[in-house]
């Protein structure tokens, strides 16, 4: 509590009731409202607060006469004390004397009207005949003076006055010096009086002599008249006296009447003045209520109840009853105001507190019975919660309506879609409203808003949970309508896929809004259960956002074929182009964006892929699989797309033996080969096909398992193993298809030339062979063709040699076997020639022959009639020399690992 008020100065220090005084001192109230009472001589004053050191007051009419303390009471300090005293005296005013001050007139005075001596002056302050102050003599003289002086008295006006009695009674504490001074004073006074009489006579000596003369005359006259007329004269005198009595009565009656009137209005006025506060109370309450100044009402009402509550005066009771009625209305209004929304929490709390205060003050009155508000603070919470839900709903509907309007208009694509604006709005509402609701709840549960009755809280936690649940439902309905499965809010579906596409670019914005409002909820210290509701929505949104980003990549992958430049840039896998690297680039971009938007964690968020095999995993895996599927398709499409001129060109190259272009000497290194292919030489379909084959093989063997897999690890995604495996087998299938296509394309013309060149070209017959000194032309051509294919493949990718050549050679062997079996007859040279041809082909192609090819070669040899040992030797010798001759030409086919 603040220090007690202390009055140390008053100006003036004395006066009749109604005197205006300036009171000075310490701690006289911190502000006007703090000062609640000023009392002078035990009587209440009207007052005006000036500062904590100064008050202007007017003494009231019900203070006691004489000296009394000046007591200031403040709310903050309590009831104070004073070092100075005010002396109230009665300024006696006759009925004919005007006065600016209303004076309470004691009943004694009005009774003693007639006896009053006009000489009595209200200013008479000299009580002591010795002119000494009475201070120090306050204590009563201990012994009984009547016992000591049985004959005498202390009353100055009595005959038996005893100075001893007087001095003991009034001056037993006065010092001797002072008594001497008092004696001197008394003496002076008496002398002054004597002197006065004498000087009076001196100055009026003429008049005195006149009076004496007149009296002498009167006496002479009376003596002359004798006794005759004395009775008549007495009679006359009596008449005159009674007449004058009558007229004086009349005069006084009139005056008395006026006085009575004046008394009445004076009394009324002073009552009004004294109870001004009370009489103004009802109007003041109403005035303040209209200004929302409920604090003042509470104060005024409390003060009135304190001051007048116990009064038995009917008028006061009536006014108080009226105030009670008005307060009842104020309470009703406050209860309404408490539930009015929107309004600030602080204001709401103030209303609740004012209401509670008024309720407390009305306890026990009949108005308390007339309006029972169980728990106003809870009503405040409930209405706030209801308001939040209503606001969400209204906002949701408003924005839906707005979108409908906008659909008709041609909206520019730059503006954010309406639901993005909605997301912004509703998250802002949430960030603004939840803290208010929560704070109100805190105040409620700390007892700050505790009222008259036992609090009856509902389930506050459930209210918070519901409100947050509701908030999330609306957000979800607007931006994740596909996830809206179980809520009461109807989803706000997209009217077209273009609308959805346009919207999805704004997902990160929505996510940001949601996160901001999540952060503001976290700061509130809400229960985890409540936060988790929002967290779940954020997780959903993050996943959705992520999948949207990745899905964007699908479309880009589909267009990858436009990006193929046929640069053989993969060092570890000759023949593979930069296409896989471009896929990697696309994926990197998508994964990076996704990582930044959705994987990076903000306050109180969990990793998206924490739970293995969660929905998130499946989603991502599915999208990755789609992306890679698309990539396979791109590979295949690139290989099969041909332009018209190439179709015409191709067979010619094969038929004419050595290819006319593009095939490069094996010695040229890869880098040169690359630059040659990409810059100077038109890229043929075969090249592209081979490149695609190489790409497919590269993807299958290295790229998917290494590069892509690492990418996921690098950006913190779970590696979608299954998707990668599936796509590898996809790519492998593509490889198979393309291989088949290439083999068919190369083998068909090659094989089909063998038979014509064996028979038709030189009218050849196996039973009419004349010379045996060289390889047959068909065998020669066949080998040349194989070498040509070899070099075409080798120029692109040596890795492809074996799979392709094995297939081709198998068909060659099978064709040879078929041709040999179908020969009717061989002459000796024919036998030898056939054996030489087959053996030559078989030996040269041995490195790329699979089992079936080898078997077919043997079948072909078996179909030739048996050679004698000589014939056989003959063939072998020639075979060796031919091999020797063609060594350089056929060398390529002998390198085991080109």
């Amino acid at each position: 509590m603040a220090p007690l008020p202390l009055v140390t100065g008053i100006s003036p220090k004395e006066g009749p009731p109604g005197t205006k005084i300036i009171i000075r001192g310490e701690n006289l109230g911190t502000r006007a409202n703090d000062l609640i009472a000023v009392e002078v001589c035990g009587g209440e004053c009207s007052f005006e607060w000036q500062s904590k050191n100064k008050i202007i007051a007017r003494t009231g009419i019900n203070g006691q006469k004489g000296k009394g303390d000046v007591i200031v009471t403040t709310l903050s300090g309590g009831i104070g004390s004073s070092t100075v005293q005010f002396r109230t005296y009665t300024e006696t005013i006759g009925p004919l004397k005007e006065s600016a001050v209303w004076v309470e007139e004691s009943p004694v005075q009005s009774l003693a009207w007639g006896r009053r001596t006009m000489a009595t002056s209200g200013y008479h302050t000299v009580d002591d005949p010795l002119g000494l102050s009475m201070e120090g003599n306050d204590k009563k003289f201990p012994d009984d003076l009547r016992e000591m002086f049985p004959e005498n008295s202390g009353d100055l006006s009595r005959e038996n006055f005893s100075p001893c009695w007087f001095l003991l009674e009034n001056h037993h504490g006065t010092s001797f010096e002072d008594l001497r001074a008092g004696y001197a004073y008394l003496k002076r006074k008496v002398e002054g009086q004597k002197e006065g009489q004498l000087s009076f006579l001196k100055t009026h000596v003429g008049a005195v002599i006149d009076q004496l003369d007149t009296m002498m005359n009167l006496k002479k006259k009376m003596d002359n008249d004798g006794d005759v007329d004395i009775a008549k004269r007495v009679h006359n005198l009596q008449d005159t006296i009674s007449k004058s009595i009558d007229s004086s009565h009349a005069l006084f009656d009139d005056v008395l009447k006026r006085r009575e009137k004046a008394d009445n209005s004076r009394a009324a006025l002073s009552v009004l003045n004294r109870y001004k506060f009370l009489f103004c109370l009802p109007t003041n309450i109403e005035k303040n209520a209209s200004k929302n100044e409920f604090d003042i009402i509470v104060n005024d009402y409390a003060r009135a109840k304190n001051l007048y509550g116990k009064s038995e005066i009917p008028l006061i009771q009536k006014v108080l009853a009226e105030a009670d009625e008005i307060i009842l209305e104020v309470r009703k209004e406050l209860h309404k105001k408490i539930q009015e929304m929107p309004q600030g929490v602080e204001q709401q709390k103030r209303f609740v507190k004012s209401l509670i205060n008024l309720e407390i003050q009305q306890i026990g009155t009949k108005q308390a019975e007339m309006l029972k508000i169980t728990d106003p603070a809870w009503d405040a919470i409930a209405s706030r919660a209801k308001y939040i839900e209503a606001t969400f709903k209204r906002t949701y509907e408003e924005f839906q309506e707005k979108e409908k309007e906008n659909l008709q208009k041609d909206t520019t694509k730059r503006d954010p879609p309406i639901r993005v604006l909605f997301c912004e709005e509703i998250t802002e509402i949430a960030s603004g409203q939840f803290p208010d609701l929560w704070r109100l709840g805190q105040s409620y549960f700390t007892g700050e808003l505790r009222g008259v009755n036992e609090p009856k809280p509902g389930n506050f936690k459930q209210i918070i949970l519901n409100a947050i649940e509701r908030f999330c439902s609306y957000v979800r309905a607007a931006i994740l309508p596909q996830n809206q499965k179980y809520s009461t809010v109807t989803a706000w579906s997209f009217s077209s896929s273009s609308q959805l596409n346009l919207f999805s670019t704004w997902l990160p914005t929505c996510l940001r809004h949601l996160r901001i409002s999540y952060a503001s909820l976290i700061r509130l210290d809400l229960p985890n259960e409540a936060l988790d509701i929002v967290l779940k929505l954020i997780d959903e949104l993050r996943l959705f956002c992520l999948t949207t980003i990745l899905k964007k990549a699908i479309d880009k992958v589909k267009k990858l074929h436009e990006k193929e430049s046929w640069e053989l840039s993969v060092i570890e896998f000759p023949g593979a182009t930069s296409l896989p690297a471009k896929l990697e680039e696309l994926l990197t971009e998508a994964l990076d964006e996704g990582q930044q938007m959705c994987l990076q964690l903000e306050v109180r968020e969990n990793p998206l892929f924490d739970v293995p095999n969660s929905e998130g995993h499946r989603e991502i895996s599915k999208i990755i699989e789609t992306i890679l599927e698309c990539f396979s398709t791109v590979l295949e499409e690139l290989a099969t797309e041909r332009s018209d001129d190439e179709i015409q060109q191709l067979p010619k190259q094969i038929i004419s033996g050595f290819p006319t272009n593009s095939l490069l000497p094996h010695s040229i290194n890869l880098n040169e080969a690359k630059s040659t292919i990409s810059s100077t030489i038109t890229i043929t379909w075969e090249h592209r096909l081979l490149c695609c084959l190489a790409n497919a093989a590269y993807c299958n063997k290295i790229f998917i398992n290494n590069n892509l897999s690492n990418l996921f690890v690098k950006y913190g995604y779970p590696v979608p193993k299954l998707a990668l495996e599936n796509s590898r087998s996809n790519v492998n299938m593509v490889f198979g298809n393309l291989l088949e296509m290439y083999v068919e394309h190369k083998a068909d013309p090659l094989v089909s030339t063998i038979e014509p060149s064996m028979y038709i070209v030189s009218h050849f017959k196996w039973d009419g062979v004349e010379k045996f000194d060289n390889l047959s032309p068909y065998a020669h051509e066949c080998l040349d063709n194989v070498v040509a294919v070899y070099s075409e493949i080798f120029a692109i990718s040596p890795f492809l040699l074996r799979p392709i050549l094995e297939q081709i050679i198998q068909t060659i062997a099978e064709e040879l076997a078929r041709l040999m079996v179908s020969v009717d007859d061989f002459n000796v040279n024919g036998k030898k020639q056939a054996t030489l041809d087959i053996k030559m082909i078989r030996d040269v192609l041995r490195l790329y022959s699979n089992e079936r090819a080898k078997q077919s070669f043997n079948e072909a040899l078996d179909a030739i009639p048996k050679l004698t040992a000589d014939e056989n030797k003959n063939v072998e010798t020639l075979l060796v020399s031919i091999k020797q001759r063609m060594k350089i030409q056929l060398m390529c086919l002998t390198v085991v690992n080109p």
Binding site: K13, R24, N53, S133
Partner: protein, 202 residues
Amino acid sequence: MSKKPSSSPPSLHKVIMVGSGGVGKSALTLQFMYDEFVEDYEPTKADSYRKKVVLDGEEVQIDILDTAGQEDYAAIRDNYFRSGEGFLCVFSITDDESFQATQEFREQILRVKNDENIPFLLVGNKCDLNDKRKVPLSECQARAQQWGGVPYVETSAKTRENVDKVFFDLMREIRSRKTEDSSKASGRAKERKKRKLKCTLL
């Protein structure tokens, strides 16, 4: 009967402000009491102030009676003067009339108190207005001398110059007067006691 000195209430010194109206009696009092200077002039009737101050290390109470200077009734004035233990007789150095009036105040006080050596200070106020001075310093000092060597101090209620000094100097005089008196009085008291004792014996 035996009271400890510490528990006895602090001694009270009663000071009375006298002087013509408007010379700054109230201003001096309020400056001393509350450190505030009142600019506007509101005639005083009779104001009472009392607070605790520390006089040379001892806690005492000062009671100040601020008077109007021209009381309607001599009786009232005399009554005020009678209760005073020390007087600050104030005039304004810018107003010769107020200086002349001090003569009468002095006489009235002496008449009422009947004591030539009553604690008394002659105070020339408003010394901040030196450029408007009407009463030469020498004249003031001469008068103080003529009155049996009472101290003369110039003050300013506006700048607070010498305000504390006049009140404290006066209190010191009152205090030393009281100790003189009480030593005399206690001497007498002893005498009286002896006599009383005799009485009872008789």
